[in-house]
């Protein structure tokens, strides 16, 4: 069941330059696993080695930050759009 995953510019170099890709999975975590299967260079860019969401990345399922849902266990359906955004901050 593919969902659309929108990538920020900084990650596109790891995904053949694409701004948006399709990936399969019933949860956000499974979608990211499939994403890394397709684009191995994305490994460790979104999910840390211990399997949690990277601190400097925000992930949305449609309008909702998955940190306030079930994080990587957040369920996804075919019409959902997953958006990955870098955390933007400074001083």
């Amino acid at each position: 069941m593919p969902v659309e995953v929108r990538l920020p510019t900084v990650l596109r170099q790891h995904a053949a330059g694409q701004s948006s890709v399709k990936a399969n999975g019933a949860t956000v975590g499974e979608v990211f696993e499939d994403l890394v299967r397709q684009f191995p260079l994305l490994a460790n860019q979104v999910i840390t080695e211990d399997g949690s969401l990277h601190k400097f990345v925000n992930v949305y399922r449609n309008d909702d930050d998955v940190r306030f849902l079930d994080k990587l266990a957040t369920p996804v359906e075919e019409a959902d759009v997953i958006t990955i955004l870098p955390a933007v901050a400074g001083g």
Partner: protein
């Protein structure tokens, strides 16, 4: 008429010479977008807080097509020294930019009490080496707005060129 064939440095000192800055290193922005960055920065400075927002354009081009003012989600008592761009505002800006065929290609933020140059925190936290980083200083009555690239901790200024609307 071509100028005398002397070393470029002397001509550079007067500005305006076409060899002064390679065209690829100039970031173009509309006067209206430039003004909106200044207005946002001045308004937030009243709190006092740093303003922040996103720049949209076509990836690889040197034109800012739109600016999206965003909220500063840093703790209220720290907003005068840091910014954390509200990720929900980022999501909305990203959607709007994609609908128009653009991408988010940079960020602007203001410095309320320091110069228009990326701080060590800005450099350390720069999220994307392909982005443009506009810093607006409102420490003095006359705001100063400058743009930079930040690649592997290296800061390089890219002069901002203000463009008139196409209709003029």
């Amino acid at each position: 008429m071509p100028g005398p064939a002397i070393a470029g440095n002397r001509l550079d000192a007067f500005g305006g010479h076409r060899r002064r800055v390679p065209s690829t290193s100039v970031l173009r922005i509309s006067r209206a977008d430039w003004q909106s960055i200044i207005d946002h920065s001045l308004a937030e400075a009243e709190k006092p807080a740093e303003a922040c927002g996103l720049l949209a354009g076509e990836l690889g081009d040197m034109d800012v097509k739109a600016v999206y003012p965003c909220g500063n989600a840093a703790p209220a008592d720290r907003q005068n020294v840091i910014y954390e761009l509200d990720s929900r505002d980022y999501l909305k800006a990203d959607r709007d930019a994609r609908e128009k065929g653009w991408d988010i290609i940079g960020v602007y933020h203001s410095h309320t009490h320091t110069q228009a140059y990326p701080s060590p925190t800005d450099i350390a936290q720069a999220p994307d080496p392909s982005w443009h980083y506009i810093v607006a200083s409102v420490q003095h009555p006359a705001p100063v707005v400058r743009s930079y690239t930040i690649v592997d901790g290296e800061v390089a200024e890219e002069p901002l060129v203000l463009e008139r609307p196409a209709s003029q």
